[in-house]
């Protein structure tokens, strides 16, 4: 089983915000994500590029991170997100759970979730 980094959110000015590398080799295709979707203040494209019109910041995210953020934008619970991750990626439930918690903490820290505000 291989897991790619759940996400690699990168902010402007080359200041990378690396998240816990755990999931590898996402087997998800970009087409699994909507063409664009809004998550909190950021509009994400299927290619993993996100732009925040209120702050002017932009980010890149891995396909797995996109799946999580799109799931959150659809109002899914954590359990539903875990189910989606384990069904789409070759990852154990415990690893996915650990990485999801880490990722949620990271996006909250970056101010990318409604809860952060």
């Amino acid at each position: 089983m291989k897991l790619a980094p759940l996400s690699s959110l990168i902010r402007p000015h080359g200041q990378p915000h690396e998240l816990q590398p755990a999931m590898q080799a996402p087997s998800v295709s970009p087409h699994a994500v909507a063409a664009t979707f809004d998550f909190h203040t950021v509009t994400w494209q299927a290619d993993g590029f996100g732009f925040d019109a209120t702050s002017g910041e932009f980010f890149t995210a891995s396909p797995t991170a996109l799946v999580v953020m799109q799931s959150l934008s659809e109002g899914m619970t954590r359990q539903q997100i875990l189910d989606r991750l384990t069904s789409r990626f070759e990852v154990s439930h415990s690893t996915a759970e650990r990485d999801l918690e880490s990722f949620l903490a990271e996006i909250a820290h970056l101010g990318l979730t409604p809860e952060a505000n």
Binding site: F51, A53, T54, S55, G56, E57, A116
Partner: protein, 367 residues
């Protein structure tokens, strides 16, 4: 007044610390390509004089601000004997004081300008920002005006030691040690005079708002950006348009409180963290060097200033640019001619000649 107005613009040097004049000219010509524009310069090597696209039609050297206010007006009168300009768009902070304090001198000469009142101009002074921000419930870094070295160190200590030392009109240096503070203090004093400002260092992203106030508390147009690239001295070399209701509201409340008339730039730092607030760093009483960027996006503020100064009806409403548009500054080399330099240096004036156009060989070929 001339049948077709003649406009004078200052601040044409786009060097390491770019001035706004050339961007103002470029924006004016986007709307009024035939407009006659003269440059008022303080140095014969101001780079905008030699630009192909945004050079003035003629240029005149001005007396240095250090020569005093009387010399300023005398030189302006002498220039108008040769080129009777109708509108003045000042683009340098140091020129603003004499102009806003004596608007009648402009009026009696028949010069139109779009300037703030002396009262609102003083209220946005760096040393008065705290009072303005208190009235508008806007955050601003603690700032202390100092005029001697002892006060400098006391002020820095009271602000935690990690401070910016700023000139009265321009420049800021980050100073962490007493030696760095002193060096910055003497530099600012020599360049810009007293007082020197000592300002608390607020960490965060920088945001700027350019706009045009109508003098009654409203903004006729504005554009907000996040600085994407900065020079070593902190000057923005790239900016991304943003649209944040919180930033718009802060800007609107400041302009309403000041009843600002004319162009302005508000400089903010948004403190770090998800709940970061906009912290006002300073208010520039004129256009910034990036003022032509919004003009490419249906927000031509320099053209609106010209129309406002002349009492013309605005051509169309100014739009806020769409978030996601950005500018990157691109420094290129200009070609000058020694004849222009000689004319400016010896006579204090030069009139731009049509450029020699060398046809491309391909253009003479028959198809």
């Amino acid at each position: 007044m001339n049948a077709s107005p003649v406009v004078a613009v200052t601040g044409l040097h786009r060097g390491e610390n770019p001035q706004p004049g050339s961007a103002v000219i470029r924006s004016l010509r986007r709307v009024y390509p035939e407009l006659r524009i003269i440059g008022l310069v303080y140095d014969s090597l101001e780079s905008g004089l030699f630009s192909e696209e945004d050079a003035p039609d003629a240029a005149f050297t001005m007396s240095y601000p250090g020569a005093g206010v009387e010399a300023f007006w005398q030189r302006l009168d002498a220039i108008r004997e040769i080129e009777r300009f109708d509108v003045l768009i000042p683009c340098l902070d140091a020129e603003m004081g004499p102009l806003v304090e004596a608007p009648e001198k402009l009026r009696e000469r028949g010069i139109h300008a779009c300037l703030p009142t002396a009262a609102s101009f003083k209220c946005r002074d760096k040393s008065k920002l705290a009072e303005l921000c208190e009235r508008t419930h806007c955050r601003t870094p603690q700032t202390v005006a100092v005029s001697d070295v002892n006060s400098l160190h006391q002020a820095a200590a009271s602000l935690g030691g990690n401070v910016f030392v700023k000139g009265r009109f321009y420049e800021a240096r980050h100073a962490l040690t007493p030696a760095a503070r002193e060096a910055a203090y003497w530099h600012m004093l020599e360049q810009w005079g007293a007082p020197v400002l000592v300002q608390e260092n607020v960490q965060g992203e920088e945001y700027n708002v350019i706009g045009l106030g109508d003098g009654r508390g409203h903004m006729l147009g504005s554009c907000s950006i996040r600085k994407m690239l900065r020079t070593a001295s902190g000057k923005g070399f790239g900016g991304m348009v943003v649209r944040d209701p919180q930033l718009d509201a802060v800007a609107q409340s400041l302009i309403a409180e000041l009843r600002w008339n004319g162009p302005f730039e508000l400089e903010f730092v948004k403190s770090e963290g998800p709940k970061g607030e906009y912290c006002l760093i300073e208010i520039n009483p004129r256009f910034p060097a990036w003022c032509d960027f919004p003009s490419t996006l249906d927000c031509n503020l320099p053209a609106a200033v010209l129309e406002l100064a002349l009492g013309w009806q605005p051509r169309e409403p100014l739009r806020h640019a769409s978030p996601g548009k950005f500018f990157i500054r691109h420094a290129i080399d200009m070609t000058g001619d020694i004849r222009d330099l000689a004319a400016l240096t010896t006579n204090g004036q030069f009139f731009r000649q049509p450029r020699e156009i060398i046809p491309h060989p391909a253009s003479s070929r028959s198809l």
